[in-house]
């Protein structure tokens, strides 16, 4: 902007040079030298660092990068490897799969839920807190129109938006003349499978594993972004005059029958779902299995049964559903990629450093003043 100002002043001077010149001429004008200021800036002599990129000057950088990256990579890789993760696909594509029939018959219109159970065995015990995820594949939550199809004001408890949702929610804005709460395609497609985990001990008794459903959403989402409309006391009253999304069985204020303050817009499962995934294969946090006190592992190795209330059809778009159990480290879930990437890049840098060293020795041995002809 400063430049623009400078420019235009210059330009204007230039343009009306003629007549303003003639008008000022009569006054003879103080003779002022036009000599430019001798400042480093105006004379373009600012002190400067002038790096020259040659093999010689650059190769230390390559070695340094290599030396730093490889240990970091190893560290990350080890960390990632220490994370335990277990994954069960319960979509029911395979005919042998326990959920095959559910998957086959179920559609959005079904009124009856279908239940199936998957058995699996954990080879290793999971020591610390275990995070239970559901994972979907081929589900394009990042589709442009899908991502937009929500009303943040409504979700924030704005009463006017509750009754008159944003146009972005179309065509999931109203149903039968009543505004949908929560409106929009995202809410409409809420993941509604119920997963229950049982530990089968040696004498085949099923022990349910306590699954905590609090704390799975971002704190800011739960407390700032998502809010029930005011008059929180009775959600049924609050949501009167609205209707549930088309695909939903229950209205929003009855999402969690077990816990009263997990209903409405602040239902954590709902909040998690509303945070649209970046990629078509994603997982979302479903429950947390808190570490028990003492030394007993959170999930000991052994047989487990996963009971699924199969409500969510994915086969129509060739989707997959998974349940994932994972511990996490300081840098998140299991992902060896970053460690490998660091090691690879570090090695490449090191290698290039060596190449540069060779080049340097072969072609760049002169020092600058020595090669001047005499």
């Amino acid at each position: 902007m400063i430049a623009a100002m400078m420019a235009s002043s210059y330009n204007a001077k230039e343009e009306d040079g003629h007549h303003s010149g003639s008008s000022s001429h009569g006054g003879a004008g103080a003779v002022k030298s036009k000599k430019p200021d001798n400042t480093a800036f105006k004379q373009q002599r600012l002190p400067a660092w002038q790096p020259i990129l040659t093999a010689g000057t650059v190769l230390p950088a390559f070695f340094v990068i290599g030396l730093i990256f490889i240990p970091i990579g190893i560290g990350l890789y080890v960390t990632s490897n220490n994370i335990k993760e277990f994954e069960v696909d319960y979509t029911g594509v395979d005919i042998n799969s326990p959920c095959y029939s559910c998957a086959k018959n179920f559609s959005w219109n079904s009124t009856q839920s279908c239940v199936c159970s998957v058995n699996f065995t954990l080879e290793q015990p999971f020591e610390s807190n275990v995070f239970m995820y559901y994972g979907l594949s081929n589900f394009y939550q990042n589709h442009r129109r899908y991502v937009k199809s929500r009303d943040d004001s409504q979700l924030n408890g704005d009463l006017s938006a509750l009754m008159n949702p944003s146009k972005e929610c179309e065509p999931y804005r109203t149903n039968d003349g009543l505004p949908i709460a929560p409106c929009g395609a995202i809410a409409n497609s809420l993941f509604n499978d119920t997963l229950d985990l049982y530990y089968v001990d040696s004498n085949s008794t099923k022990t349910p594993i306590p699954l905590a459903k609090k704390g799975i959403a971002w704190w800011t989402d739960k407390h700032v972004k998502f809010r029930n409309p005011s008059g929180n006391t009775n959600l049924t009253v609050t949501f009167q005059g609205t209707t549930k999304p088309v695909n939903w069985r229950k209205p929003v204020y009855e999402l969690d029958p077990s816990e009263a303050d997990n209903n409405g817009f602040i239902n954590e499962d709902f909040i998690v779902w509303m945070r649209t995934a970046a990629l078509p294969t994603f997982r979302k946090l479903y429950r947390i299995i808190q570490k028990k006190s003492g030394t007993t592992p959170t999930l000991p190795s052994g047989r487990y049964i996963l009971d699924i209330t199969y409500n969510y059809p994915v086969l129509s778009f060739d989707g997959r559903k998974r349940m994932i159990l994972s511990t996490i480290s300081w840098m998140g879930g299991k992902n060896p990629f970053l460690g490998i990437a660091y090691i690879t890049v570090g090695s490449i840098c090191f290698f290039l450093g060596v190449v540069l060293l060779i080049i340097h020795h072969k072609y760049d041995t002169r020092n600058n003043s020595a090669d001047i002809p005499n």
Binding site: Q44, A278, L356, P373
Partner: protein, 1481 residues
């Protein structure tokens, strides 16, 4: 800024249209009636009502029209329309990608910045208009019967205006009366053309004799004149009086708006043109708008970007269609129906998506690029403007950039076309020597004096080189003692005031004159000539005293006195006295009007009055005459001839003696002794003043000039008044001027003519060889011609002085026809021209003068370094061939070791033949050296790396380029050569010559040459000149440079850049041009890269979102990324980056070649950058992709790190490309990063429900707590930039560009660098040559043979000439490293060369007698050779290095007495080159 030019054009076009409409009513002329006649009539009846009034309005907008008009103008730029279209597309719900309001933001931002700028500029214009419109002037009011004060804007055409001294003219006014007794009005036109001398304007002739006060009410004439036009030097029309009499009007009668009245107490005129129709306003066009080469290239790549964009969109659209198609009828939950709830077919969605993608990818077409380029260019202009090295202290002026948008073109020039006079030379004419009546007066002392100034220059300005001095004939050593004395005196005087430049400047400022330096004024007379002058004048005095007729004076003596009289009076010099600046020295001994009518002539030349010279009786007679007129109300009743004659007859004729003492000596002394020495002369052309000063040195001084008489003071004779009967002004076709005077001593009517030797010599009366006088005359002519040739060879401007005595009958006869010509309205110019031709015949040659036009400081050095920079320099001059060639030698344009092809032909066929011959010759030269390397060099562009396979010392024996040729062509031949049929051949010859010199070329030819080269060779051309004759060439060239020198401002007005001096061109091109080019080129490439890289991120994402046009980058980031986050560092780098320091760039001009070859921005670089951009975006996309694969990351928590990474990568990329890191760079980069994080944090914390759909509440905050984010931030930029960094490092070592070598030089400590550079400067060739970097690339080099030349410039296609030259010079230089360096020519060849020059002069038509000439020539040439600028050549071992094939010169025997056009080709064939001995030492 870009639009301003267009606007001016539009405004003008509108105006023209308006005028055209009027034209139907008015046809071709404008008729002006006096307004007062119509004051009481209704407005419609006023015949002047159609003409523009004097209110000026230069603003473009009014308050109301601003918004629509400005927007309209801005939308003229295609890019703006495109972006608005995209923004509007966003309002269509089906395709919208962003929030519609947000999408408007960038466009609105850019538009409003420009609009605010325009508004501000317009406001400034408005203010200045207002100020001007409200200035006061006196306008005659019919009602009040007096002049009343009115605002300028109220002045109308037809008004009478009274002007007082020092007032500025409000409009173009026809001068009707003046208080000046001579009916003159002096004006200063500095605001129009920058010329500071006073111009005289005359009252319209029919009002001339009106002595009574001009009474507007009595005025009833009608003026017919031309339509308004912008030609300042043209005004034609006539005034029709009530009586039906017509009087012609000239430009001398017109006072132009903007000029200032000086030295005239009062003047009255009638307004002819007002307001926008004044010549000054019509001339005032705004800054120029040109499109630079770089921009043209950029536009091609913008076009490619559009293609890439469309391909990407198409790809995405097809992808989306397929994606939709695979789901068939089963619509997945995540594929949302359209808002209407309707289902879209895959094909329809694909089409909609195509539009959406255009919106999403719009950044690929860089909206901010155009704005950024403008900003950067303006900053560049600012810095160029601020450069102290381009500031000239003497004139207190610095470089002006008048075209704001072609700075980078300065770095890409390939051809320079230069004017000579005033551009290469100072256009300060200094009298050097003269020849009178065949005797040469060498003015040795004068030459010494000049040499002394030269030395002082070099001493004080620490200019160590003496290369710029002109060749001096006299040996310097013999006068050393004298010089020491002289110098000590003058330096003392200068030291008092500080530096010489300062002193000069002070004198300029105080005296307002350009011709005031002592160098030009203090001419040391030649003692011999001075004696003769004294002798002559004392004799004349004696004779006058004894009433002897003057014809008894020996003819050589009378020639001398005539010579000086001619010098003194044959000019248009105005005398003024410094004590009263701008006050004309009045010396009026009589009142008499110049001969203007035939009656006047009869009146004055009737026998009875023949003797009336300058005495009081005649004046009294005229006074009575006037007073008799005074009573008359109409000026139209001019006294009839008869009545005057009778009246005059009654008077007593004064006696003869009286005439001979026109001024009593005592009177003159009293009045003038004081001011004598201080008279100053103001001349329209500097050489006029030089001659007057020269004459003054011989005590013949011009003391006063009036329209009708010139007063000259001569030694012993005192003041003599020459009655000035006629002045035939100088014009470029006649190339001479003449004055017709009545000689007060002999009372003869004498014509003094001064002009170019070529024309004068043709007009000399052929001597009658019968008698001795005739023989003598013939001898004089030959001798003079001989000296003229020598002068020319010496680089002096030559002028011939001649005279002619007319009998009264002859004069009367001529006058009769001349007056007819003057009053003619149709074809007046031609008639006057013919009339002048009739007068200027059968002249008697008096002598000739040699005026030195000194080279400007540093011209040879500048030319040398520009040439090293690979620029081809052509000099186009109107001077004669010899002068031009010698100036060319002096300024190192031609070098002694160069061969010169001279093309002089007088017919089309001869010219064709000559060109053919030259081509053969040049080709033959190639062949002759093919035994060695030249042939290989010739094919260099085919096998660039095989040019010099191994340059073992023995084989490198061709020190000279095949291209080391100079071409000299004269104007006549040039006319033939520029013919369609020959132009290709001419170009072929010219482009293989290193320097081309076009002499005697007209302004039109100059521009034709430039146009030819520009269009045919497709090269960048620069034209530089200082005078009006260069304007056309300046306008035609890609870059026009004007020298704001002594010849007014026309060249500057037409130019893109105006320089105070030629030598500044070096820094302007080599430093600023190079910088501007490399900065902008790099910035444009970076812009393309940046946008492509950013957009590609989103493109890759389409593969993971079903090609739905979704973006993981928050739309706010997406839109403001270019506008804010990544905008500043590139602006800083684009403005401040210096790839090589200014010093190195100037010392190694070779670095300029990179700009000429567009090496910073080649088409492939765009694609390389695109590929790099795609690679980097892949890295920036896929590292986070894999790092977050199958995790619970949400869309924008994943997109934000990608944005951050892209920002880091882009900034670091800029870091790699930045060559100079100042604190500003550091600051801007850290500012960018800080800005991004600050904005992101604030944005993410500001509103939990806004910013749909991303709703990024607390995203950034959480990311910053995530270690993974930091790990990504480290690895991604490193990985992304690794290839580029590695490539740059390898390039820097393996095949560094010359620019980088320059940078390495920069890095060395100052001491070492200076040593290296000084070392390299001694060398002929490029200092870079021996650097290994130039060589490598090619395979196995023997150890230590690093210094062999290998294809350092890969495939120099376009400008192979310059490249080859570099190779060759390097080669030559390499070989000659260990040997003494210097011009490689023998004395012999030099003498040959110069003999050639002189003999060419001999072939001029009027010097047929070559024998007698030959002797003189031999003597002079040999004496002269010893003092050529290349004196050091004598010390060189003969033959050293000059082993070029054949020197193409002509021997003197051939040259003599032969017809040039016929023999020249023949001669050339005789000289058919044979492989000469290729000596190696």
């Amino acid at each position: 800024m870009a639009r301003d030019g267009e606007d001016a054009g539009m405004v003008k076009a509108a105006k023209v249209k308006r005028q055209r409409k009027k034209k139907t009513k008015e046809n071709k002329t404008r008729t002006v009636h006096a307004n007062i006649l119509y004051d009481n009539a209704k407005g419609e009846e006023n015949p002047n009502r159609h003409y523009a009034n004097n209110k000026i309005k230069t603003t473009k907008y009014t308050l109301l029209s601003f918004l629509p008009k400005n927007l309209f103008e801005q939308f003229h730029r295609f890019a703006n329309v495109y972006f608005v279209f995209i923004a509007l597309l966003n309002f269509v719900p089906v395709v919208n990608a962003f929030q519609p309001e947000l999408a408007l933001a960038p466009v609105v931002f850019i538009l409003s910045v420009t609009a605010i700028k325009d508004l501000w500029e317009d406001y400034r214009r408005h203010r200045s208009d207002k100020e001007i419109n409200h200035m006061d002037c006196l306008v005659y009011s019919r009602v009040e019967r007096r002049y009343v004060e009115k605002y300028w804007k109220e002045v109308r055409v037809g008004d009478f205006i009274r002007l007082r001294c020092n007032e500025i003219l409000p409009a173009d006014v026809l001068l009707l009366t003046s208080s000046d007794p001579d009916r003159l009005c002096h004006i200063e036109t500095a605001t129009l053309d920058g010329e500071t001398n006073l111009k005289q304007r005359q009252v319209v002739r029919s009002f001339f004799d009106l002595d009574c006060d001009f009474d507007p009410t009595k005025y009833n004439s009608i003026i017919e004149c031309e339509k308004p036009n912008n030609d300042l030097n043209r005004f034609r029309g006539y005034i029709i009086h009530r009586s039906g009499r017509r009087d012609a009007l000239y430009k001398e009668n017109l006072l132009l708006r903007g000029c200032t009245i000086r030295n005239t107490e009062e003047a009255v005129g009638i307004v002819i043109y007002a307001g926008h129709e004044t010549k000054a306003m019509l001339n005032n066009n705004g800054p120029r708008y040109k499109r630079s080469k770089l921009e043209r290239q950029m536009n091609v790549d913008v076009f490619w970007c559009v293609i890439i964009l469309l391909v990407m969109c198409l790809f995405a659209a097809v992808g989306h269609g397929l994606w939709m198609f695979q789901y068939g009828d089963k619509r997945p939950v995540f594929d949302v129906l359209s808002p209407e709830g309707t289902d879209l077919s895959p094909i329809m969605s694909a089409i909609y998506l195509f539009l959406t993608m255009i919106i999403v990818f719009q950044v690929l077409i860089p909206i901010s690029l155009f704005v950024s380029i403008e900003i950067v260019k303006i900053c560049q202009v600012f810095f160029i403007h601020q450069d102290m090295d381009l500031y000239d202290e003497e004139t207190d002026s610095h470089l002006q950039c008048r075209a704001l948008n072609i700075t980078e073109d300065l770095g890409q020039m390939q051809y320079i076309f230069s004017d000579k006079t005033g551009t290469l030379t100072e256009n300060k004419m200094v009298f050097r020597r003269c020849t009178v009546a065949g005797v040469e007066y060498s003015h040795d002392a004068n030459a010494r004096r000049l040499a002394m100034y030269q030395e002082m220059d070099s001493e004080e300005e620490e200019c160590t080189s003496h290369g710029g001095t002109l060749p001096r004939r006299d040996s310097v050593t013999s006068h050393q003692s004298a010089r020491v004395v002289l110098r000590s005196q003058s330096t003392k005087s200068h030291r008092r005031t500080g530096s010489r430049a300062e002193a000069k400047r002070a004198s300029i400022l105080s005296k307002h004159t350009a011709f005031s330096s002592p160098m030009e004024k203090d001419i040391t007379p030649d003692p011999q000539l001075l004696d003769k002058v004294n002798e002559c004048s004392s004799q004349m005095d004696f004779m006058r005293f004894h009433s002897q007729p003057m014809s008894q004076l020996p003819s050589d003596l009378s020639d001398i006195i005539d010579f000086f009289i001619a010098l003194t009076i044959c000019n248009t010099v105005v005398v003024s006295s410094p004590n009263q600046p701008r006050q004309k020295v009045r010396m009026r001994f009589e009142l008499k009007s110049p001969v203007k009518t035939i009656e006047d002539f009869i009146k004055r030349f009737t026998p009875s009055r023949l003797t009336s010279g300058s005495n009081s009786s005649s004046s009294s007679s005229l006074i009575t005459n006037r007073s008799s007129n005074r009573g008359c109300s109409s000026i139209l009743s001019s006294p009839s001839a008869e009545s005057t004659l009778t009246k005059l007859d009654e008077e007593k004729p004064p006696n003869l003696e009286h005439t001979f003492s026109p001024v009593p000596p005592c009177y003159s002394e009293k009045a003038w002794a004081v001011a004598e020495g201080e008279l100053r002369y103001e001349a329209e052309s500097p050489d006029e003043a030089a001659l007057v000063y020269a004459a003054r040195a011989y005590k013949c001084s011009l003391v006063g000039r009036l329209p009708d008489q010139v007063t000259v003071e001569l030694p012993h004779l005192g003041k003599l008044s020459f009655e000035l009967l006629h002045t035939l002004g100088f014009d470029s076709t006649r190339k001479r001027m003449s004055v017709v005077v009545r000689h007060p001593l002999t009372d003869q009517i004498t014509v003094y003519t001064k002009g170019a030797d070529s024309v004068i010599m043709d007009l000399i009366k052929p001597p009658n060889t019968g008698n001795s006088k005739g023989k003598r005359q013939k001898k004089i002519v030959y001798r003079t011609q001989n000296y003229l040739n020598l002068y020319a060879a010496d680089g002096l401007r030559t002028l011939c002085i001649a005279k002619k005595v007319l009998t009264k009958e002859e004069y009367a006869c001529w006058l009769q026809r001349h007056l007819e010509a003057e009053t003619a309205i149709q074809g007046r110019e031609e008639l006057l021209f013919e009339s002048a031709l009739r007068l200027e015949t059968n002249l008697h040659l008096l002598g000739a003068t040699g005026i030195e036009d000194r080279l400007q400081d540093g011209v040879p050095e500048t030319i040398a370094s520009l040439r090293k920079a690979g620029l081809q320099i052509w000099v186009l001059t109107g001077d004669k061939q010899e002068t031009a060639v010698n100036i060319a030698y002096a300024c190192k344009l031609l070098e002694p070791e160069e061969e010169i092809l001279t093309l002089n032909a007088d017919s089309q066929e001869a010219c064709a033949l000559l060109l053919e011959e030259s081509l053969h010759y040049i080709q033959a030269k190639f062949l002759c050296s093919s035994a060695d390397h030249a042939a290989k060099a010739f094919t260099a562009n085919f096998a660039p790396f095989e040019i010099y396979p191994s340059s073992s010392p023995s084989s490198s024996s061709v020190p000279f380029m095949v291209h080391r040729l100079g071409l000299v062509i004269d104007g006549r031949t040039l006319a033939y050569a520029l013919d369609k049929s020959l132009e290709d051949k001419f170009l072929a010859v010219a482009r293989s010559c290193r320097s081309v010199l076009c002499c005697r070329s007209t302004p039109l030819q100059k521009s034709m040459v430039v146009k030819l080269v520009r269009n045919k060779l497709k090269v960048m051309t620069l034209a530089i000149g200082d005078g009006a004759n260069d304007v056309s060439m300046i306008q035609v060239a890609d870059v026009g440079v004007g020298i704001s020198g002594q010849e007014g401002m026309q060249a500057v007005m037409a130019s893109d850049f105006a320089l105070p001096r030629f030598r500044y061109l070096q820094k302007l091109l080599l430093v600023h041009g190079h910088w501007c080019y490399s900065r902008l080129a790099n910035m444009i490439l970076y812009f393309f890269y940046k946008n492509a890289m950013f957009v590609a991120l989103i493109f890759w994402y389409q593969f993971y979102c079903g090609f739905s046009g979704s973006a993981m980058i928050d739309q706010w980031y997406l839109i403001f990324f270019n506008l804010m986050f990544s905008a500043f560092p590139q602006l800083i780098t684009g403005t401040l980056d210096k790839d090589v320091s200014a010093e190195t760039l100037q010392q190694l001009p070779q670095l300029y070649i990179s700009g000429q070859n567009s090496e910073e921005y080649k088409p492939y670089m765009f694609w390389m950058n695109m590929i790099d951009a795609f690679y980097q975006s892949l890295v920036c996309f896929f590292i986070p992709y894999f790092a977050y694969a199958d995790s619970d990351v949400d869309l924008f928590t994943w997109g934000t790190p990608i944005t951050t990474l892209a920002l880091f990568t882009i900034l670091l990329h800029l870091g790699i490309e930045t060559k100079t890191w100042t604190w500003m760079n550091w600051l801007s980069i850290s500012f960018s990063i800080a800005l991004f994080f600050t904005v992101a944090l604030c944005y993410n914390a500001s509103c939990p429900t806004c910013y749909s759909p991303s709703n990024p509440y607390w995203t950034m905050q959480r990311l910053l707590q995530d270690p993974l984010f930091y790990f990504l931030c480290v690895i991604t930029p490193v990985t992304a930039l690794l290839p580029r960094y590695f490539y740059r490092a390898c390039q820097g070592t393996l095949f560094p560009s010359p620019v980088q070598v320059g940078r390495q030089l920069d890095k060395l400590p100052a001491e070492t660098r200076r040593n290296i550079l000084s070392l390299s400067r001694v060398k002929v060739g490029s200092p870079l040559s021996t650097k290994p970097p130039f060589l490598s690339l090619a395979k196995p080099l023997p150890k230590g043979s690093n210094k062999t030349e290998k294809g350092s410039f890969p495939s120099p296609k376009a400008s192979q000439g310059s490249i080859l030259q570099t190779h060759d010079t390097r080669k030559c230089h390499k070989r000659s490293q260990s040997e003494p360096l210097g011009p490689k020519h023998s004395e012999k060849s030099l003498s040959d060369l110069y003999t050639l020059m002189s003999t060419e002069g001999d072939t001029l038509p009027y010097t047929k007698d070559s024998q007698c000439l030959d002797k003189t020539l031999d003597v002079s040439v040999s004496s002269w050779i010893t003092s050529t600028p290349q004196t050091d050549s004598v010390e060189l071992p003969p033959d050293r290095g000059s082993s070029q094939c054949v020197r193409y010169t002509r021997n003197s025997e051939e040259g003599l007495g032969s017809e040039p056009s016929v023999h020249q080709p023949g001669r050339r064939t005789e000289q058919r080159p044979e492989p000469a001995s290729l000596t190696t030492s």
